[in-house]
């Protein structure tokens, strides 16, 4: 009898608990989704929705005349890429740009970070100075460099004083893309330097001390301790670099006034997407198809980089 009583009170307790936990669940749902509401709305309307919309658009010819007119063309937009000479040129330019800028800026960032980390006086001042380009907008930097790249501008003048050949940095199709590369390496390396600097604090000091006792010089210590210790960070920096460089747009747009000239030498994939989407009629769907191909290339490149750097670790 007594037992039954206790069991019945525990049942009451349990159902009370259940009710309370139900109430709690409801409260958590309201609070959770309440806190997430702005994020969910933007995510659905301006990111996930548009991705699906973009898939859809890439199978259509899109004409914007007052309203939006869609004309189904199947995979034509993707096939069209195959024999579009400008698309090939844009891809080639972008590939060359990525292939040169990513390794150079990564190495420069690591080199500067290692130098700054040597524990010299005034490190803070150097760090503040080096960080300036990262703070400045790409538009402003491009304008400043165009002013310096001017035919009789600062850079050519400096080259002349030390008897080096001068170049038509902006107007020569063989040079223009390299001018943008130099500018962007200068502008991006410091950001990655800061990331390396933070990571360098975590490299055990005794590794260097032991190597120094074994007679390793500065360069050896750099190659055999700093570089391998920072491999995971390098992987991160390279992937960020790949993503950034594949998306080059602002600089080539401003450099060429939006045309990608001279003679398509600064035409990048994103600039091409922009031109097809907003500067010529009826090619918005085609532009979306190119954007997808670019996303795919970036994804494959990042995965490839990750796989390669893992393999290296095993060797």
């Amino acid at each position: 009898m007594e037992r039954a009583e206790t069991s019945s009170t525990s049942k009451v307790k349990e159902s009370k608990k259940k009710r309370r936990s139900n109430k709690r669940l409801l409260r958590d749902i309201i609070q959770g989704y309440g806190f997430m509401l702005p994020t969910i709305l933007v995510l659905l309307t301006f990111i996930l929705g548009p991705v699906l919309y973009a898939v859809f658009l890439s199978f259509f010819d899109v004409t914007l005349l007052g309203g939006t007119v869609l004309d189904f063309t199947g995979v034509d937009n993707y096939l069209r890429l195959m024999d579009d000479a400008r698309a090939k040129r844009a891809l080639l330019n972008t590939g060359l740009y990525v292939g040169i800028v990513v390794p150079v800026q990564t190495f420069l960032a690591l080199f500067l970070a290692a130098t700054l980390n040597a524990g010299l006086k005034g490190e803070k001042i150097f760090r503040i100075i080096y960080f300036l380009p990262t703070l400045t907008s790409s538009a402003v930097l491009t304008l400043i460099f165009m002013w310096m790249y001017n035919q009789n501008g600062l850079i050519n003048n400096m080259l002349e004083t030390v008897n080096l050949p001068t170049y038509n940095w902006i107007g020569d199709p063989n040079i223009a893309l390299y001018s943008i590369m130099i500018m962007n390496i200068w502008a991006t390396a410091p950001l990655f330097m800061v990331i390396y600097l933070a990571a360098l604090q975590g490299v055990p000091k005794n590794l260097y001390e032991a190597a120094e006792l074994d007679g390793a010089n500065v360069i050896q210590r750099f190659w055999y301790i700093t570089v391998p210790q920072l491999r995971p960070i390098t992987s991160f920096v390279v992937i960020m670099g790949l993503i950034g460089t594949f998306q080059l747009f602002d600089q080539s747009y401003i450099f060429s006034g939006g045309s990608g000239g001279p003679s398509n030498s600064t035409l990048t994939v994103v600039l091409l997407i922009y031109q097809y989407a907003f500067k010529s009629l009826g090619t918005m769907g085609y532009a979306t198809a190119i954007a997808f191909m670019l996303a795919l290339i970036i994804l494959v490149a990042s995965i490839l980089q990750r796989v390669l750097s893992k393999e290296e670790q095993f060797n």
Partner: protein
């Protein structure tokens, strides 16, 4: 041995100073050009100190160019408003993902991580069409609303709140504060370093953005400074003194913010590096 060390120290300084000069020259050159007369600019004489020091270029862009001030205002409204909303909404989402257990949480978290991987070019064209349907082209909300959350920083805030001491919240809930009140009055003030680092990056993202305003803002009245500067270049072709003055005005606010937040900024950086 000691002598060798002295030498390597000197060598390091040479490297550091050389690179500091390489970094500073473009800025100094731009600053000095902004105080030069057009005659000096076009004379081809290279001097870092203006021959004839003048404020005329700044007067020109602020007074003669009616639109310049408007562009500055547009940039301030968009970057300021966008940053404020990002700080609130990213923290709210990060807090929910770290602290509240609600059904579907995992799915949303995975979606947010996946979104970090999507390049803007994919969503840029459909977004243009959506903004066009909404009638939000050439408007502040067209620039702000689609970018008022940021997946990367939601993730960062989640990581921050996961390590946040629970006791504080428990104490606050005993004081009778509701969840939102507690979030605003107890949790957010303690998240200051994370918020400051986020504020700098988000503000710079809006302030320096070129592609989105180029697409969304087609009326010269609604240009932001980046797009305005670019149109300046077309308008003033060889008047680099004006262009450089405008560039300097544009760069100043970010520098001021950087100096102001520098302490928080480095803290924020080390915080992300710890993770």
């Amino acid at each position: 041995m000691n002598n060798k060390k002295e030498w390597s120290k000197k060598l390091l300084y040479v490297v550091l100073i050389t690179y500091a000069v390489i970094t500073l020259v473009p800025f100094v050159w731009a600053l000095s050009s902004s105080f030069k007369t057009f005659a000096e600019i076009s004379s081809g004489v290279m001097s870092f100190i203006p021959n004839e020091f003048t404020f005329e270029n700044y007067r020109q862009i602020f007074i003669e160019e009616e639109l310049f001030f408007r562009w500055l205002l547009n940039s301030v409204v968009i970057a300021g408003g966008g940053t404020a909303l990002n700080l609130i909404f990213n923290s709210m989402a990060g807090y929910a993902l770290a602290r509240i257990s609600f059904p579907g949480k995992k799915v949303w978290f995975m979606l947010i991580l996946a979104v970090i991987m999507i390049p803007v070019q994919v969503t840029m064209i459909p977004n243009y069409l959506i903004l066009k349907e909404l009638g939000w082209l050439n408007s502040y909300q067209g620039m702000i609303v689609p970018a008022m959350i940021n997946a990367t920083f939601i993730f960062m805030m989640r990581q921050f709140f996961i390590n946040f001491p629970k006791e504080l919240e428990e104490a606050a809930s005993l004081d009778g504060l509701g969840r939102f009140g507690m979030f605003i009055r107890v949790v957010l003030p303690l998240a200051k370093p994370a918020l400051a680092a986020q504020a700098i990056f988000v503000f710079m993202g809006f302030w320096n953005d070129f592609m989105r305003p180029l697409i969304i803002m087609t009326d010269a009245d609604m240009y932001t400074l980046t797009v305005g500067l670019n149109s300046f270049k077309g308008q003033y072709v060889t008047y680099w003194n004006y262009i450089m003055a405008a560039s300097m005005v544009f760069t100043l606010p970010v520098l001021v913010i950087y100096m102001f937040f520098n302490k928080f900024f480095m803290k924020g950086m080390s915080f992300t590096a710890d993770k």
